[in-house]
């Protein structure tokens, strides 16, 4: 009986040895949750949009989906606002086309720093006119803008959650209330997976050798907490005017960068 036992054991072990024993590497976690607060790296090629004759600054991006297309409004040459469309990262953007020009006396020949958001009738844009006028304008298609009117004083405005954010004298304000030191605020209000609102602000702050991009968050839109350190350090002088597109699995940060001796252009960074 022991002999039979040994024979069966050997037979079964040989059969078992024929079972699959292929090896595969262990995976890193896929699709890990992330908030968009850190982890950005600039995309290959650094910029997504440039113009050989004019500085492009203060981008404001509205995305049809987290992967694009991206509709980008920006200051063109310092005094007008133009628009370009980017199908998705890695493709060529359309040539800049005029979106908004100064036409009112109080604009004093200058419109700049657009911030565009979707609205019930199409789109709403707040922008800076003259030297410190904040104005609003609306559009049904994002191409033709009407109904210009002044709403405040300050610089680089942003509408989010029904509130106006802007900068003045090196401070970020929500309406008339100063929040913290910084410039060029871009605020996104969205629901977290646990169904509470989070206000996420990307703004300019002092960097290593130049202007960098920092992050602040808030649960109520009134009291913001900053990380205290830049989330994206400039490798070109001055990377300004951040505009973020956030989703549950990827964040894209658009910004203007001004290489020494070259025209300012629009760059992008992604996370994670």
């Amino acid at each position: 009986m022991r002999g039979r036992a040994a024979a069966w054991s050997v037979l079964l072990t040989v059969c078992a040895a024929a079972c699959g024993t292929r090896a595969e590497p262990g995976n890193s976690p896929e699709n890990p949750p992330f908030s968009g607060a850190i982890g950005y790296h600039k995309i290959d090629g650094t910029y997504v949009l440039l113009d050989p004759v004019a500085d492009l600054t203060d981008p404001s991006v509205v995305a049809d989906s987290p992967a694009g297309p991206f509709h980008i409004w920006f200051t063109y040459g310092g005094a007008t606002i133009r628009r370009s469309d980017l199908p998705h990262l890695g493709t060529d953007a359309t040539p800049p086309r005029p979106a908004l020009s100064a036409s009112e006396p109080w604009e004093a020949g200058r419109v700049a720093a657009p911030s565009v958001e979707r609205a019930a009738q199409g789109f709403r844009m707040v922008y800076e006119a003259a030297t410190d006028v904040i104005a609003v304008v609306v559009s049904s298609d994002g191409e033709t803008w009407t109904g210009k009117r002044e709403i405040a004083r300050g610089h680089t405005p942003m509408l989010a959650g029904g509130h106006l954010f802007l900068q003045d004298s090196g401070f970020v304000y929500r309406e008339g209330t100063p929040l913290f030191t910084g410039t060029d605020p871009d605020v996104i209000v969205r629901a977290t997976p646990s169904d509470r609102l989070i206000w996420q602000m990307f703004y300019n702050c002092p960097g290593r050798n130049s202007i960098a991009i920092c992050y602040a968050g808030s649960w109520d839109g009134a009291s913001f907490v900053t990380t205290g350190v830049p989330i994206l350090q400039p490798d070109q002088p001055d990377e300004t005017g951040p505009s973020a597109v956030l989703s549950t699995d990827q964040a894209i940060l658009f910004f203007a960068q001004k290489p020494t001796g070259l025209k300012s252009r629009i760059g992008a960074a992604v996370a994670p």
Partner: protein, 438 residues
């Protein structure tokens, strides 16, 4: 390249915990009954569920089988990419008598298809499914001995083996500065795998033909990974060195594997001749769980340049504050009447509930987990009159479905890099087992 490999070895932190049998069971019969087998393990299953039951067996048996468990865990509704566990298991139970004393020896091994064990590096705050991530990616090897104490009482004990890792990387020589091409460094790697073992023991009591009890203790098991990097040498040209005998030391300590101490109490009651009902209560001491993130220490002696160098304190792993849990398991087995056939069929089912030991995550750590509900089902057949075999041949198959209901994590900080998330998932496990008795 060698240096890069050495650094990779050094910086690897390893979040791996417990073993695949804790998660998916051993043998199709026990897995079909949701793991409620402390008082009724059969064959090699006794090597895990209750070593004492080895001596209660009436004949020598050899088990072999294959198991596949496929986790489908997700956060925020998107697949987390948790790896499958699959592999072969086999074992032997050899009961006998010495001078009227019932004795038995048993051994079992679970051999994963993909790897013997896995060391995986994740950031300290990296989100991970702590229960299913690396926990199940390891070899399991156990050997036990059991003895009959009389009056239907049996005691068994044994060890489970693993290996521990200790590594030391040394770089000595000249660091070329400002011209790195002049560097002349010698690399030495000293890496050791040391055998470690932890005990387990069980009491098995056959109160009557209808009623058995079991009590099993599995000891806790923490496997640490210790690695260090030592760089020593001259910086600058040999003729005019900037730093003479400078030193940089980096050491990393992390938890490679963790298994909570477990105390399982079980009962099996044959309510009718063909109906067996089992129930287990398992206490799991998860409060001893340590953060698997690496604790890194840095020090440097750069002589005259020390005043220019400030080494910040590396972040240290926070205490995870897991809590102990009580898992409940129940199973049922029905033997279908043979009616003269060579085949005796058995139908099995079970339900298990294991609460999550993971506290709410609102700080730096992001351990994803949830309560686990397991539904098991299975089929067994005992084949009699098999050629060459004097004893029946048993074949078992099982299918177990574990559901991890959605659990929301709400972070305290508005600037948290991970943010709020929802973790959920399910695991489908299946397997077959064949037992040959002699």
């Amino acid at each position: 390249m060698k240096r890069q490999c050495a650094l990779l070895l050094l910086l690897a932190a390893a979040p791996a915990h417990a073993n695949p049998l804790d998660a998916f069971g051993l043998g199709s019969r026990a897995a079909a009954m949701a793991g409620a087998a402390t008082a009724s393990p059969e064959g090699i299953a006794a090597n895990y569920y209750n070593p004492g039951a080895l001596a209660a067996a009436s004949s020598m048996s050899f088990d072999i089988g294959y198991m596949l468990a496929s986790p489908h865990m997700s956060w925020n509704g998107r697949d987390a990419g948790v790896d499958q566990t699959r592999g072969m298991f086999a074992g032997l139970n050899v009961p006998g008598r010495v001078g009227g004393l019932k004795l038995a020896l048993g051994a079992t091994i679970f051999l994963p298809d993909d790897r013997l064990t896995r060391v995986k590096s994740e950031p300290l705050s990296g989100p991970r499914f702590i229960y299913y991530d690396n926990r199940t990616q390891r070899l399991y090897m156990a050997a036990n001995a059991a003895v009959g104490l009389g009056h239907g009482l049996y005691f068994g004990a044994g060890f489970v083996w693993m290996s521990s890792s200790h590594g030391n990387v040394q770089l000595n020589g000249l660091v070329g500065f400002p011209d790195p091409e002049q560097s002349d460094l010698r690399l030495a790697i000293d890496y050791q795998l040391e055998t470690v073992r932890y005990p387990q023991m069980g009491l098995f009591w056959q109160h009557s033909d209808r009623l058995t009890f079991g009590l099993t203790y599995r000891h806790s098991f923490t496997l640490r990974l210790a690695q260090s990097l030592h760089i020593e040498g001259i910086v600058g040209p040999l003729s005019h060195p900037l730093i003479q005998n400078g030193k940089v030391d980096v050491s990393s300590q992390s938890t490679d594997l963790f298994q909570p101490a477990q105390l399982a109490a079980g009962m099996a009651f044959r309510v009718r001749p063909r109906w067996l009902v089992t129930a287990d209560v398992v206490y799991e001491r998860w409060s001893e769980f340590e953060n698997p993130g690496a604790a890194i220490q840095l020090s440097a002696d750069l002589k005259d340049f020390n005043r220019f160098v400030h080494i910040p304190n590396p972040p240290q792993p926070q205490a995870p504050y897991f809590h102990d849990v009580l898992a409940l398991r129940s199973g049922v087995e029905y033997s279908v009447p043979r009616r003269g056939s060579r085949l005796e069929w058995q139908l099995r089912g079970g339900y298990g509930y294991e609460p999550s030991p993971v506290p709410d995550q609102f700080g730096e750590t992001n351990f994803a987990d949830g309560d686990k509900h397991t539904l098991g089902t299975g089929l067994g057949v005992v084949i009699r009159d098999v050629p060459l075999l004097e004893q029946p041949l048993a074949l078992d198959a099982h299918l177990a479905w574990t559901i991890v209901p959605a659990r929301l994590t709400r972070k305290a900080l508005e600037t948290d890099p991970v943010g709020d998330f929802e973790a959920s998932g399910w695991v489908l496990a299946t397997g077959i087992t064949m037992r040959v008795s002699f």
